[in-house]
Amino acid sequence: MLALTYARSIPAFAVVKAAGGRADVATSALSMLKLGDVPEPQLPARDWVRVMPSLSGICGSDLAAISGHVSLYLDPLTSYPFIPGHEVVGVLDDGARVVIEPALGCLVRGVDPPCPRCAEGRPGLCYNVTEGPIEVGLQTGYCADTGGGWGETLVAHPSQVHPVPDSLTDEAAVLIEPFACCVHAALRGGATKDDMVVVAGAGTIGLLTVAAVKLFTPPKRLIAIAKHPTQRDLARKLGADQVVAPADVFQRVRFATAARRLEGMNRPLLLGGSDVTFECVGRADSLNDAVRFTREGGTVVVVGMPGEQKVDWAPIWQRELTVTGAYAYGTEPKRKGRKTFELALEAAPEMHLDELTGPLFGLGEYRDAIAYAMSAGRLGAVKVAFDLRRLRA
């Protein structure tokens, strides 16, 4: 089958990293990513199913891996070579449309009894990601045995497969996985109706976090930080009460919260500030700002996948901030233990998510696709995806 494969190669990684992750180098012959014919993944157990991806999104974490910006923390949690792609809408052999919940926890791996985290309904935090009939890997798309969305076929455990309602197009359904991440993040952030919330970043995760917070934990006011015009428009459409440029964030949050602003030698800080901040960029500048404009005793939810970033811990220490990660999905105790994917699938039809998807590329156009995705915000795009439907036609 035709697939894009990511192979572990220290020299290739070094070359791409040295080039600053430039798209032309990150997709060149010297890179870790290759297009070619590979064997179809085998079903690891009898109950597993084959899924033929229709659309598969290019996620920020994929780009981080391809461009050499990924945290090396994730390296031992990944098996190589793997076929990337974990934002997937596809079809089963019987033609049913499904989205994939990629987390590879105890249930998927057939480990019984499950680890304590899986027992809590948090497969993203599974202890047993090295166990079972498949290789090590946190998710489909980072595991050598499951295949991924950037190939013609992947294999999935039935618990990973969620039917897509007819009301949801493929273009909308491909965003269910990132949306589920954001629903989980919103519920972890736990904003109340009296809170002032900031969502930093307006890529896919930022925009969907805006939507999730407004839907699941509506605060008193939500300020979104967006850099590009299309992002600003979409943030407003998805429910942000106010959209501000990154350079204005201290000014705007200060005014919204009647905080006090002090000028530091490198950057300002607020006395007071937002109650809950969702950091959806994952870069040092944004993280350092977030811990300075979130109020004392407030919460910073790290949603965007960060790499190894230089963050000043003094504000976290002095302001007694709760800095919490929000990774993946599972079941949500604050929603009576319902699955995050179900919540996302229920909410999605009203959200016109398809407006966020595009342009679509064939696997053969992967160089253009990766380059486009790396500059998506500037080019007015949100979710760039591969369209594999043509391969089946």
């Binding site: 204005d248 000014q251 005014f255 009647a258 006090r260």
Partner: protein, 526 residues
């Protein structure tokens, strides 16, 4: 003999006319038949200001000589106007210094020890020590600062007292030291008819609670104009408050006026009509133009803000507030009045680099509006030079540029409020209290050098009358995004602006250019 102001009709021989353009200047050719209104030449100043001051204090208007009011052991307070006027700041010695030195000498002779001097800055920013020193002079500064020479704080709950309510329900507060003094001597400098009189105490030594009674959209819209006190609801309100203050505390009022010699020798060409420019003036114009065209804004600002005006004192009166102020207004009008026959379809104005609220700071977009549509438009008596529904054309680069120290609340007003609405009444309903009571703005006003949180709203409503009166407002050479945020139109050149204006006022419109500064008041034939 100084020439009075003049109205010149543009013909083929009329040279291009000077337009101020923020920290720059332009020469523009006006259309044939347009009028150019020039301010009067500077009046001859009083030759011996100290003697005139002594005379005024010895023979006050409707009051006893100051000397007779002074007695040993009394509690005396001198209040003086802040640096928001004159513009540009006056070359030393400032007339307020001369008056205060005389008053302090008299107080010392009378054996008064309990004497405090307060800068009556109302909700303006606190001045720096150098700025205070410039106004009061080295001797007073060294003797009294900081314990007995300080600045009014309208947000100091302890040190502002509630005086009462006027018959119209306007609340009045007053600086505690002034309210508890046996005698308050107010030392004023009146540059324009809006200043002075009862407005001095009722804004300069008051708090937001008191000032909001007249600094509001409704009052400003009912003032036609606030540069002409008899037709100004703003002034009627200040007078009512001032009378209540007079009933509470013994006030001896001293007002001074200066001529309109606003520019030092190097910028003398700005003072003169273009037809009077000498070769030296032309050379200075070219040099200034060259400098302002190529230098960065911050450099130009430093050069311009360093200028001190060689104003000369033209009058000093002392005594009862109303009696003094009548004489003062007479003196001011003598200097700045220019009779103008009838209104026109289009009025053009060059907005200069400086207004009352941006000394040593950039003129941010809201202050550009305040200066152009507020002050400059309102310099009229009877009726505006611009006909109702006419087009006002202003020149200013209008950059998104704010001074975070002086104007922190202006940034939020521009970014948040003006993005929401431009309507002064609606803004007041939604945002007045929020800006006035923001704790951080309060702190910056009290401890730093920031204008009060509510001040950008005052700057905005200062333009309310012009915004309501004009059919269209066009900025020439300005930042397009900024002008659109302000709610106006933008043109690249003056010719483009004239062409755009024709859509509102029709073809062959009548045009008047008000060549100011120096300041003038168009006395438009009723």
């Amino acid at each position: 003999m100084p020439r009075p102001g003049a109205v010149i009709e543009v013909d083929r021989n009329t040279p291009p006319v000077l337009f101020h353009f923020g920290e720059g200047i332009r020469l523009e050719k006006m259309p044939l038949g347009a009028r150019i209104v020039y301010p009067p030449d500077p009046l001859e100043p009083i030759a011996h200001p100290e003697r005139a001051i002594k005379r005024a204090l010895a023979k006050p208007l409707e009051d006893d000589p100051l000397k007779s009011l002074l007695r040993r052991g009394m509690k005396m307070t001198i209040a003086f106007d802040d640096l928001s006027l004159p513009l540009p700041p006056m070359a030393a010695p400032d007339v307020r210094q001369l008056v205060m030195e005389e008053v302090i000498d008299m107080a010392a002779e009378a054996g008064i020890d309990d004497l405090h001097i307060i800068a009556a800055l109302g909700l303006h920013r606190r001045m720096t020590e150098d700025e205070v020193r410039h106004i009061v002079g080295e001797r007073i500064f060294t003797t009294f600062h900081p314990d007995r020479l300080y600045q009014h704080d309208g947000e100091d709950l302890e040190n502002n007292v509630y005086v009462g309510k006027t018959a119209q329900g306007e609340e009045v507060t007053l600086n505690r030291r002034a309210a508890e003094s046996d005698l308050v001597i107010y030392v004023n400098l009146t540059l324009v008819p809006m200043d002075g009189g009862h407005k001095s105490m009722s804004t300069g030594l008051a708090s937001f609670r008191s000032i909001r009674a007249h600094h509001n959209a409704k009052t400003l819209l009912a003032s036609r104009s606030y540069m002409n006190p008899p037709d100004s609801a703003l002034h009627q309100s200040c007078i009512r408050q001032g009378q209540l203050i007079e009933d509470t505390v013994r006030v001896f009022h001293i007002e001074t006026t200066v001529n309109n010699h606003a520019f030092p020798a190097v910028a003398n060409f700005m003072q003169k009509r273009e037809t009077d420019w000498t070769p030296q003036d032309q050379a200075m114009f070219l040099a200034t133009k060259q400098m302002t065209d190529i230098m960065p804004p911050a450099f130009k600002r430093n050069v311009f803000h360093a200028m001190r005006a060689p104003y000369g004192m033209t009058a000093v009166h002392a005594g009862q507030v109303d009696a003094v102020h009548d004489k003062t207004l007479e003196a001011v009008r003598k200097q700045i009045n220019v009779p103008v026959e009838g209104q026109t379809d289009i009025v053009t104005l060059g907005v200069p680099y400086l207004g009352p609220y941006n000394i040593n700071a950039p003129m941010n977009p809201i202050l550009v509006v305040c200066m152009g549509l507020g002050y400059l438009f309102n310099f009229y008596r009877n009726k505006p030079v611009l006909r109702k529904g006419g087009v006002l054309i202003l020149t200013h680069p209008c950059r998104y540029e704010f001074d975070a120290v002086q104007h922190p609340s202006y940034i939020d007003y521009y970014d948040e409020v003006l993005a929401d609405t431009k309507d002064p009444i609606e803004i007041e309903k939604k945002y007045e209290i929020r800006f006035a009571e923001d704790p951080w703005f309060r702190q910056l006003y009290r401890k730093s050098h920031a204008y009060h949180g509510i001040h950008p709203h005052y700057a905005w409503i200062w333009a309310a009358h012009a915004m309501e009166h004009a059919g269209d407002i066009i900025f020439v050479g300005a930042d397009r995004d900024v002008v659109h945020r302000l709610g106006f139109k933008c043109a690249t050149t003056l010719d483009d602006a004239f062409e755009m204006a024709e859509q509102t006022v029709g073809r062959y419109p009548s045009v008047t250019h008000l060549r100011t500064p120096p300041i003038m008041l168009a006395d438009v034939e009723a």
